[in-house]
């Protein structure tokens, strides 16, 4: 079983035997099987294929019917405990390289911001609400929105360590903070620019975040100018053109280009706390058939370059009068 010996054995097998057998058995020549009766080989393959397909289909059926609390969920959480730390470790290992690359190529300001934010929150428990960037921006948009007192969010700081590939057709990321840091399912995730998404599930030290631009994401939003309510759905775009589509609850209200949208807020602040800036209205289209309109919203948070994010773990001063009592968003 040594590395040196085995290739020669493998080579001997492939060199001599197939040639000998291929001359005698036509089907073996076709499939290139080195040894063994064809019937056994085919039977094994058929059995393996049948069982594998059956297992996969069963899993799909179980997971599809039972969501979000299907019997597969424990497996997912188990996998998160294994792969989460591995992904975080892999990310930490290459971060000096990717940081250097982005420093050379990308914006130095952003890099400095990230570093400062990361340092500031080295204890992981630190409150990003005290970080100047977020505080200022939140305050700025709050002023715009005329919604008061959105300043008391307790945030847990985290970094994006893995991004769901386009082949998966979902917009999800892994962050390096989990239940041990206070992150729970259905918590709001923000960054310095605005709303990022919500926590889908949390492992001990990592969590999976569903981005607002995912096609399955729905966020309750409020137009700052008219205070009108609506629902923002992600367009699921796999590239840089991730947008949200706004459907207003009141069909008579018309959003205007440049309107800012903040979160409407869910009951109890989960999954979305109220007053977080989401994006700007970029385009307004009339819906065919009825009078209502839909608007395309560009999110403030750049979903293609997510790095430092904050997970809302609570409010410092719980307020019973938050606008979320009206209803919520998925």
């Amino acid at each position: 079983m040594s590395l040196l010996r085995s290739p020669s054995r493998g080579a001997a097998t492939s060199l001599v035997r197939p040639i000998k057998l291929n001359r005698t058995t036509r089907s073996r020549a076709r499939t290139g099987q080195p040894l063994g009766p064809d019937r056994d080989q085919n039977r094994h393959t058929r059995t393996a294929l049948a069982i594998s397909v059956l297992i996969a289909l069963t899993l799909m059926a179980v997971d599809a019917t039972g969501r979000p609390d299907s019997a597969v969920e424990p497996l997912r959480i188990g996998a998160a405990e294994v792969f989460g730390p591995l992904e975080a470790g892999a990310d930490a290992a290459v971060r000096p390289v990717t940081d250097l690359a982005s420093l050379l190529v990308g914006s130095r300001d952003l890099q400095a911001d990230n570093t400062r934010l990361t340092d500031e929150n080295a204890g992981l428990r630190a409150e990003l609400a005290t970080g100047e960037v977020d505080r200022n921006r939140l305050a700025e948009y709050d002023a715009l929105a005329g919604i008061t007192d959105r300043t008391g969010f307790k945030l847990v700081n985290a970094q994006v360590v893995a991004i769901g590939p386009a082949q998966a057709f979902r917009r999800t990321v892994t962050i390096n903070a989990g239940t041990a840091e206070g992150v729970k399912t259905d918590r709001t995730v923000v960054n310095g620019a605005g709303l990022v998404g919500r926590v889908l599930r949390a492992g001990r030290h990592t969590a999976t975040v569903l981005l607002v631009i995912d096609a399955g994401s729905v966020v309750g939003g409020r137009l700052d100018r008219s205070m009108e309510l609506g629902f923002l759905r992600g367009n699921g775009s796999l590239g840089a053109d991730g947008r949200l589509v706004l459907d207003l609850v009141d069909p008579d209200s018309v959003p205007v280009n440049g309107d800012t949208i903040v979160t409407w807020g869910s009951r109890g602040g989960s999954p979305y706390v109220p007053g977080v800036p989401v994006g700007t209205v970029r385009e307004v289209q009339a819906k065919a058939g009825d009078q209502s309109v839909t608007a395309t919203v560009e999110p403030f948070a750049d979903m293609t370059s997510l790095d430092v994010v904050g997970v809302v773990t609570g409010t410092r001063q719980p307020r019973g009068t938050s606008g979320g009592a009206v209803g919520g968003a998925q």
Binding site: L3, R5, S6, P7, R9, G10, T13, S14, R17, P18, T31, G32, Q33, P34, L35, D40, Q41, H44, T45, A48, L49, S52, V53, I55, A56, L57, L59, M60, D63, A64, R67, V72, L75, R76, A79, A80, F83, G84, L86, E87, A90, D91, V94, A162, I163, G164, Q167, F169, R170, T172, T174, L200, T206, A207, T208, D214, A215, G236, L238, G239
Partner: protein, 170 residues
């Protein structure tokens, strides 16, 4: 060896999926990352035959299904990679097949796996999947997989041969 072989196999799958999800997202092309798990499965199928390729595909696919941040309905990558493993095993020309045949096998398997995954999502009406986005992703995934084949598949084949030098009996 009875214990060590499955352990090494498990380790290989863990490392492959971690690298695919954790590292290659930084080298993605339009969000598409190369399907390293698929390359591992194809290499195993070429060396060990379709039955082994199918079973390894099932487990590697399951890992891709469950490893965060994946949130699709589980079992879809498992199905896709199991079929890809079977396909690669059927198409193989033996351990001494020319490099061109390996590349062609990877191309066909990649196309099959990505399509099966997308198709299963369409059938289960998963969000975000439509024909347009599938057609957008398919060629990039195919080209990326093929481009990285020379770096991964020969190495993976070597590892599989080292792992079990005894000739395949079935």
């Amino acid at each position: 060896m009875i214990v060590i072989r499955p352990l090494i196999t498990l380790l290989l799958v863990l490392v492959t999926v971690t690298v695919q999800v954790g590292l290659f997202t930084k080298l993605s092309i339009a969000g598409v990352v190369p399907d390293l798990a698929l390359l591992l499965v194809v290499a195993a199928a070429i060396v060990r035959g379709p039955a082994y390729g199918t079973v390894l595909g099932l487990f590697a696919g399951l890992a891709v299904d469950l490893a965060p941040p994946a949130d699709g309905i589980a079992g879809r990558w498992a199905l896709a990679l199991a079929l890809a493993g079977w396909l690669a095993g059927q198409a193989r020309g033996g351990a001494r097949q020319p490099a061109v045949a390996t590349v062609a096998t990877v191309a066909v398997s990649s196309l099959a796996a990505t399509s099966v995954y997308a198709l299963s999502g369409l059938v289960l009406s998963e969000p975000g999947i439509d024909v347009a986005s599938t057609l957008e992703v398919l060629p990039i995934a195919l080209l990326y997989d093929v481009a990285i084949t020379p770096l991964v598949v020969p190495l993976a084949m070597l590892v599989w041969r080292w792992l079990d030098p005894t000739p395949v009996r079935w």
